[in-house]
């Protein structure tokens, strides 16, 4: 009986000792890129705290906008390293949560997969509502209003607004502290037309955009737009 207990204890001990395990310093990175930054980079440091080597089987990002790189394919016992995850900001705004799934050959399924999370808060200097104004073909070409609100941490005193198409006229008016309205008016609504309205504050290297269009065709009946 004693032999059995000893063998069992030894087995448990060996199973616990002969292990490969990546220990992550952190699995979530909170990133705060500056205005105009094109990328946000997260560093996920690890250490093999086991006594056998760990091999990376796959590193998979949750979206095409994120790439991840391992420095090596194999991590020796006691060795440290990091996975670098790069999030391409593009024209995204607000809080963006992207994940990178790392799979290793660790026999313990509890440690074989790690999900690394990038939480990126992209600063939004100007909040534009709505970002699109439109007129139906033949509709009276009355001005439509776009409101612009500057973020509290970015005081804005003036806006420069330009329209890419002279068919659309724009007029800017300050309505409060950091608040503006832009009246957009097409010269006609008989023909389809569109313009990109570029909105730039005096203290930002990055422009914001709105779109104004005159759509072809008459206004639809309510029944035709219902699902």
């Amino acid at each position: 009986m004693k032999t059995h207990i000893l063998a069992f204890t030894l087995l448990i001990f060996l199973a616990a000792v002969a292990r490969a395990e990546l220990k992550w310093e952190q699995t979530t990175a909170d990133l705060h890129p500056g205005i105009g930054d094109k990328q946000a980079v997260g560093h996920f440091k690890y250490e093999n705290v086991g006594n056998t080597p760990v091999h990376f089987k796959s590193v998979h990002a949750s979206c095409g906008c994120t790439t991840a790189q391992t420095q090596k394919d194999q991590v020796a016992p006691g060795e440290k390293g990091e996975i670098t995850a790069t999030f391409n900001i593009g024209d995204r705004t607000g809080l963006q949560v992207k994940t990178v799934t790392v799979q290793t050959d660790d026999p313990d399924p509890a440690h074989a997969t790690a999900v690394l999370t990038l939480k990126t808060t992209i600063p939004q200097l100007l909040e534009i509502q709505p970002a699109v104004v439109y007129w139906q073909g033949g509709e009276e070409p009355k001005p439509k209003t776009i409101t612009v609100k500057a973020a509290k941490e970015f005081p804005v005193k003036s806006l420069k607004v330009t329209s890419s198409n002279p068919v659309f006229q724009t007029k800017v008016e300050q309505t409060g502290s950091g608040e503006f309205k832009i009246d957009v008016q097409p010269a006609q609504t008989a023909k389809a037309a569109g313009t990109t309205i570029t909105i730039q504050s005096e203290n930002s290297p990055k422009s914001s955009y709105a779109t104004a269009i005159v759509t072809a065709g008459p206004a639809p009946t309510p029944a035709s737009v219902a699902r």
Binding site: S62, G64, G90, I128, A131, T196, T211, S224
Partner: protein
Amino acid sequence: MKSRAIKQALLLIALAFLPAVGQAVYFRGKVSWQSPIPASESVTIAQAQAWGENAIWVDARPDAEFERDHVPGAILLNEDRWNELLPQFLQNWSLEKRIVVYCSSQSCNASREVAKRLRDQAQLKSVFVLQGGWEEWLKSKK
């Protein structure tokens, strides 16, 4: 007798909590950030195809994937080049059209994000996410 039963019940509850606590600790970094799409905001391929000319298909995948292949007639609108692509999309849009947004698969998030921006920022109505995305489209063509 009664207090013994209560003790036993408490012990059983405590034991039942152990695996739950273990799971919570183990899966704490593995929470899905995807919330289910409300039925009113998603559409199947069959439904979208039935809309025919009244549907406008939007490809929310990166440029390279769109260039490789896409739903015939689909318009590229992703968040990488949102400011540049939105006006191009709007040139093809009209109020009576239903917008069907897709990305790579059921698990991708790009179609949800693009649909949300079309609804919230552009204030467009009739915006739907295609269930199963491009993967499902390919399956339907086999």
